[in-house]
């Protein structure tokens, strides 16, 4: 049973359900208590000890049904109740299944399946990862099930000139091969449907933002969202800030023990203050068209996880998109933002002065301003004076530029003139970069 459970957990993990060793042990204990007889009950108890959220429960159900579609259950219960140790198992295996022909012709189709499952366990089918391995595993399983004898029989038949028998045996061989192939393909699908996605996600986060295909957009937005969530979770530990008001009797008395109970040193109740204010300004003009979508996506995800955030988008003048982000879903919100503000020629100076108008009353020493854009302003006045005043009023200004640092200041780029007024100006062209920057930002800013 341990074997089958381990295998099942592996399948679950491949499908993106996080299972710790402790949970695996729980599942094992639960299934020992419940037993294997009542499958409905077993499913319930495994689901309770392994899948810990509604989403995971859905995945669990699907995996469970797929996993036990085959006669896996038969196999494992047989193993448990009939022959416990492996040597016994091999013995029974040898004597039962060496004759493929007999196996195929026997009325009991289950025995073929069982022997197939046993054989695949023997050759380590659970390690299959790539579809190119299908052929190899099919062959291995076939061999394990007694291909050699069948081949010999065919050879024998052809030598004896018994054409009918030869054809018949060949047909059996082909049919069994197809069945095993189906089985292997099913297993492959079971084990890799999700882990393939994982690989892809990892690869995607390294790719340059401008190179990402439209078809990857959905997947990408998932990554961004996941990333933003993770970062926020990591850094959402609240800073405690003293708020002198109420006397904290408990700690005061404890601290004043050393003064013989005299209230000598007073301690005050502290109140948690955690409301980082974030204002984001995103360039959606033609020059950053390739990046704009991802910037917006990232901003959107950030909006989902941070409570106090105002978002602005601009090309030649800035407009607020906070409401859009709050009410619409990610696709519509970014599409509408691009429609409303995108496409035009960039004017950083104008946009920044617009922004200042919008946030004049809102910006204070708790505010972090994030600017996403390439800093290319079509030779218009960059209005660094406003940048300077924003720099003075806010807690932090962070400028994320998709261009590499070597290009800053070339052509119409005003990046080098903005950079002095930013607490941080960084180049960030892939998701991994973005993640690093935001991680940094959250650690020190809030």
């Amino acid at each position: 049973m341990a074997e089958f459970l381990r295998d099942f957990i592996k399948v679950l993990r491949a499908s993106d359900v996080r299972i710790s060793t402790a949970e695996a042990i729980d599942a094992m204990r639960a299934s020992t208590i419940i037993g294997l007889e009542d499958k409905a009950m077993l499913k319930v108890s495994l689901s309770q000890s392994l899948a810990k959220s509604l989403r995971e429960k859905e995945i669990f159900d699907e995996c469970y049904n797929n996993f036990f579609k085959e006669d896996y259950m038969n196999l494992s219960s047989k193993k448990d109740y009939e022959n416990v140790d492996t040597s016994l198992e091999n013995e029974s295996f040898d004597e039962r299944n060496n004759d493929l022909e007999e196996l195929y012709n026997s009325s009991d189709k289950n025995s073929l399946k069982t022997s197939m499952a046993l054989a695949s366990q023997e050759v380590g089918l659970r390690n299959i990862r790539l579809f190119t391995q299908t052929g190899m595993f099919t062959r291995k399983i076939l061999e394990f099930m007694g291909l050699e004898k069948l081949n010999n029989d065919i050879f024998q038949a052809s030598r004896d000139g018994d054409n009918n028998r030869e054809e018949e045996l060949k047909e059996i061989r082909e049919k069994i091969r197809l069945e095993i192939r189906d089985y292997v393909e099913h297993q492959l699908k079971l084990r890799t449907s999700e882990s393939g996605r994982q690989l892809r996600e990892e690869a995607l986060s390294q790719v340059r933002l401008s190179q990402i295909d439209k078809s990857d957009f959905v997947l990408m937005s998932n990554i961004v969202r996941k990333m933003a969530k993770r970062l926020i979770a990591l850094h959402s530990r609240r800073k405690r800030k003293a708020n002198r008001g109420m006397l904290d009797v408990r700690s005061t008395i404890r601290v004043n023990q050393e003064y013989d109970g005299l209230l000598f040193k007073t301690l005050w109740k502290r109140k948690k203050v955690d409301r980082p204010k974030v204002i984001t300004l995103c360039d959606v003009s033609g020059s950053v068209a390739n990046y704009a979508r991802f910037f917006l996506m990232f901003l959107y995800s950030l909006t989902e996880v941070l409570p106090n955030i105002r978002s602005f988008a601009f090309s030649n003048d800035a407009g607020e998109v906070t409401d859009l982000f709050d009410t619409k879903d990610i696709e519509t919100a970014s599409a509408e933002t691009l429609l409303l503000h995108g496409g035009g020629s960039t004017d950083y100076g104008n946009s920044i002065s617009d922004l200042e108008g919008f946030i004049e009353n809102d910006i204070d020493r708790k505010t972090t301003l994030i600017i996403l854009g390439d800093g290319r302003s079509n030779y218009s006045d960059p209005r660094t004076d406003i940048m300077k005043s924003l720099h003075e009023k806010s807690k932090r200004i962070i400028f994320l530029n998709p261009e590499p640092k070597s290009l800053w200041g070339t052509g119409d780029s005003e990046m080098n003139r903005y950079a002095p007024y930013c607490h941080k100006a960084k180049s960030c062209s892939s998701l991994a970069d973005l993640e690093k920057v935001v991680d940094d930002l959250l650690r020190y800013a809030f």
Binding site: D26, R29, G35, K52, Y81
Partner: protein, 317 residues
């Protein structure tokens, strides 16, 4: 060995059915999933994290378990800012202050025998200090649940409303069933309490906490189960009306509403229909009493147009 296993299986099945039945006699109708969770938690000694939409009986489950096991129910309602002083223990400051006053008066008696500073300190050290002792300890729900002589059912309600810090601090209690009090030491109960945690999922619960719990998701009940619940809670409802109102609520849950009607609201509705002496549902009546089921004006407006068609459909059956 095989036989032993088989028999244990049978036993567990029987016991789970028994749990289900005794819950039924307590007035809590549950499916085998819930019963299995209770059984597992008893046998594995693990807390149960109960999730599900509001009003499906998460809190009731703990109450039913307590009265079934004949143990006291200790409830801890979580909220933002809940800290250990309110959840775990608190010192009785007033009495501690008085104690120090008394001690001051008695100080002369204690050190009167000793001569010189050194021996005074010596005798002061030898003096039995009870400033931090269980006498001055005010137990809060968690400490109460753990030190209860007969074992208790501990309900930590709406854990998602509490802070991250509080969650972290629960970890020790939930995995070892013990509490460390720095001044006294570790308090460990004789009998492990049965622990329920409920969550409405307003915030994702940490992995560490989830790992220590069995996870039970209670969805809205299906029509059959909901009817059984109505039978047990509102026995006065006619059979016909009962099936009508249950299928109406079930249909209502299919709509796209802000807050779906919960089981407790179905019960309330059934009660008020009995009070109004209703024998059968019609569209007008439903419209007038809909505010019992739906709690947002926008939901009522949205459902309004569907009422006719739903009632017609129910009648057909």
């Amino acid at each position: 060995m095989a036989k032993a296993k088989l028999s244990s299986t049978k036993n567990s099945k029987k016991e789970i059915e028994q749990i289900q039945q005794s819950f039924e006699s307590e007035g809590y109708i549950c499916n085998s999933q819930i019963a299995t969770a209770i059984y597992l938690s008893q046998n594995l000694g693990k807390p149960i994290l109960v999730e599900g939409p509001p009003g499906v009986g998460k809190t009731e489950l703990a109450k039913a378990t307590a009265s079934w096991m004949n143990k006291s129910l200790i409830r801890l309602q979580c909220y933002e800012g809940l800290d250990e002083a309110k959840a775990l223990y608190e010192w009785k400051y007033g009495k501690q202050l008085l104690y120090t006053q008394v001690l001051k008066d008695k100080l002369n008696d204690i050190i009167s025998d000793s001569k010189g500073l050194e021996s005074s300190i010596e005798s002061l050290h030898n003096f039995d200090d009870i400033f931090f002792s269980e006498k001055f300890l005010e137990p809060r729900p968690l400490l109460k649940a753990i030190s209860d002589e007969n074992g208790a059912v501990l309900l930590i309600d709406e854990i998602d409303k509490s802070d991250d810090e509080f969650e972290a601090f629960l970890l020790e209690i939930l995995s070892d069933y013990q509490i460390s009090i720095p001044e006294i030491g570790t308090v460990k109960g004789k009998i492990k309490p049965i622990v329920f945690l409920t969550s409405n999922n307003t915030r994702e619960i940490g992995d560490a906490l989830k790992r220590r719990c069995l996870h039970l998701y209670i969805p809205f009940p299906d029509a059959k189960l909901e009817e059984q619940i109505i039978i047990s809670r509102v026995p006065d409802v006619d059979k016909e009306l009962r099936s009508e109102l249950v299928s109406f609520v079930q249909n209502l849950r299919e709509l796209d509403l802000k807050k779906l009607p919960s089981v407790s609201e179905t019960i309330d509705w059934a009660k008020s229909l009995v009070l109004l002496n209703v024998k059968t549902l019609d569209a007008n009546l439903v419209r007038e009493t809909l505010n019992i089921l739906l709690k947002f004006q926008s939901d009522i407006d949205a459902a309004d147009s569907e009422i006719e068609s739903i009632t017609r459909e129910i009648k057909k059956k």
